[in-house]
């Protein structure tokens, strides 16, 4: 009796999980299906298969430019946040110093403040200091938000790092730099890739901070946001969303592969 009850319960759980996955993926699945819909309005009546929205997307320079801009922003953010985060993580994990735990909490701040506040504060700051808005100002904002993420990931990796490997290298006569290059760096590489990828996505997805800090250029979010007013552009935006998603997916797979190979 009890076993039967357990079986039923497990089935309910499995069914729930399947529904959950459907719930989570629903917006993307319908977007994928109807990006091929031969209808000039966005509707879930499927009128026939077409690739014209994809053709229109590839023929829209501003849309392609937006994707390029998003890439620039995300790459810049990934580099800055990963370098800063990795360095900070070394200090936080390997040394004990006054104010260390306070500093750790302080470094969480950009993660626990609504990004609206960060956007507004930075915009006031740039405008008072007299810095014109550009891609750089957006990268500054994104890096600020991505830093806690990359720092935390690297802290987690460094805590699990076996320092006797470094000591062994030193004992064998390697200097600090060589030890770092030949021992430490290869070992923390997977962590660095994970941190860079997370920083990249933080920037790639952001709309709130970009909204305030972007100058005349447009990234993907702002391009879509701006085009929503024009009903005839909507089908093309579906194609653009799918292309963007595919790129993100390829990147995710790549970073996962590098991590996998690196950890082996």
């Amino acid at each position: 009796m009890n076993m039967m009850l357990k079986g039923v319960r497990d089935k309910i759980f499995s069914a729930y999980f399947i529904l959950f996955i459907i719930f989570v993926y629903a917006p993307l699945i319908v977007l994928m299906v109807f990006s091929f819909n031969d209808s000039p309005i966005m509707t879930i009546q499927f009128k026939g298969f077409t690739l014209k929205w994809y053709q229109e997307f590839f023929a829209t320079p501003a849309a392609l430019e937006a994707i390029k801009t998003s890439f620039l922003l995300a790459s810049g953010t990934a580099i800055l946040a990963t370098v800063g985060g990795t360095m900070a993580a070394f200090a936080l994990v390997r040394h004990r110093f006054v104010g260390r735990s306070l500093l750790q909490w302080f470094m969480l701040l950009p993660m626990v403040l609504p990004s609206l506040i960060i956007g507004v504060a930075l915009l006031m700051f740039f405008s008072r200091v007299g810095i014109e808005l550009s891609l750089i100002t957006v990268i500054i904002g994104h890096t600020l938000v991505a830093l806690p993420f990359s720092t935390l990931i690297m802290v987690a990796r460094l805590i699990g790092f076996d320092r006797s490997l470094e000591e062994a290298a030193m004992d064998l006569g390697a200097d600090e730099l060589t030890t770092f290059r030949k021992v430490t760096f290869p070992l923390i590489m997977p962590g660095i890739v994970a941190a860079a990828f997370l920083a990249f996505t933080v920037s790639f997805e952001d709309a709130n901070i970009t909204f305030f800090l972007l100058g005349t250029e447009q990234n993907i979010s702002m391009f879509i946001y701006g085009q929503l007013r024009y009903p005839i552009k909507l089908p093309m935006l579906m194609a653009m969303s799918m292309v963007t998603l595919s790129i993100a997916l390829v990147l995710a797979l790549l970073s996962w592969l590098i991590e996998k190979i690196g950890t082996r």
Partner: protein, 306 residues
């Protein structure tokens, strides 16, 4: 002269060895935080006490914007900003509760029930997070909740309604639903991480002592997974309070939140000080929530959730 050398030596000694490497390693991010976070926040606080004449900011000290925030009466005779702040907190609470209610069973299934490799499933769950949330809102707005969207089509097919309903779009429930939809997968992670850490022998012990599965869950599993739930609250409540783009896209007039006010006040040059004051009040509210949560959550738990 002699003093000089000792000072130089002191500085050099300080910069040598361990202290040097701490300073060197911390300085890039610390500099970033000081210049691009601390300084701007100090500026916002300062400007919240200033006045404007036309669009020019006049440095002075006035509390008028805070007084406006706490006392301004809106069109319906309500306290305009206070009511909006409370409504935003209420909506963010609803989003948080919804996310946890939907995400917890999924995390529980992943940790205890699945026979498929759980980390593979976890990665699958993270998939939608790769899409910019604007793309998700875009899809929800037109293809799912909208006039010719999936929900309306389903209900019409079922014969429950005869023509498309506008009830699913442009109101506060649409905002809450959209936020729940886009945040839930991300929140499974912290809850899963803390469920994974539960020593499974504890559950067996509870069962051996005669506890029913429900009792075991209530007395053992749930309390032990609380830290993960709190990290989830941290991850969703705070961005939800400050939401302004989702509300503009799917919120209509009833979905309007405090973030929209800040953004609007901010776009008009002459209301910067008031915008700054509203921002500061909102920041204090979120920091109180963060402070309460962080007393119960360790840094390790946040790290495991990334």
């Amino acid at each position: 002269m002699k003093d000089d050398t000792t000072i130089t030596e002191k500085v050099l000694n300080f910069l040598r060895g361990e202290k040097r490497s701490i300073l060197l390693n911390l300085s890039p991010s610390l500099l970033w935080y000081l210049v691009f976070l601390t300084a701007p926040l100090v500026l916002v606080v300062t400007i919240s006490f200033w006045r404007t004449e036309d669009v020019i900011l006049i440095p002075t000290f006035t509390l008028e914007h805070y007084i406006t925030f706490f006392t301004k009466i809106g069109a319906r005779g309500q306290l305009q900003y206070i009511e909006l702040l409370l409504k935003s907190i209420g909506m963010a609470t609803a989003v948080t509760a919804g996310c946890i209610a939907l995400g917890y069973p999924a995390a529980y299934y992943l940790s205890f029930k699945t026979k498929i490799p759980k980390y593979t499933l976890l990665i699958v769950l993270m998939g939608p997070y790769l899409a910019s949330y604007l793309i998700i809102i875009f899809s929800l707005k037109f293809l799912i909740l909208g006039h010719s969207g999936l929900v309306n089509a389903l209900l019409m097919n079922l014969g429950l309604i005869t023509e498309p309903s506008g009830l699913f779009m442009h109101n506060q429930y649409a905002v809450i639903f959209t936020l729940i939809q886009s945040w839930t997968p991300w929140l499974v992670l912290p809850m899963f991480a803390s469920l994974e850490k539960i020593d499974k022998t504890l559950l067996e012990a509870a069962a051996d002592l005669g506890a029913s599965p429900m009792q075991t869950f209530r007395k053992v599993t749930l309390p032990l997974s609380m830290p993960g739930v709190l990290v989830a609250v941290l991850f969703v409540f705070i961005p939800s309070v400050g939401e302004f783009i989702t509300t503009r896209m799917v919120g209509g007039t009833t979905g309007y939140m405090i973030g929209n006010t800040i953004q609007k006040l901010f776009q008009r040059g002459y209301t910067w000080p008031l915008a700054a004051a509203v921002t500061i009040v909102m920041m204090i509210v979120t920091l109180i929530v963060v402070f309460i949560l962080l007393r119960k959550v360790s840094l390790e738990q946040i790290m495991e959730s990334l």
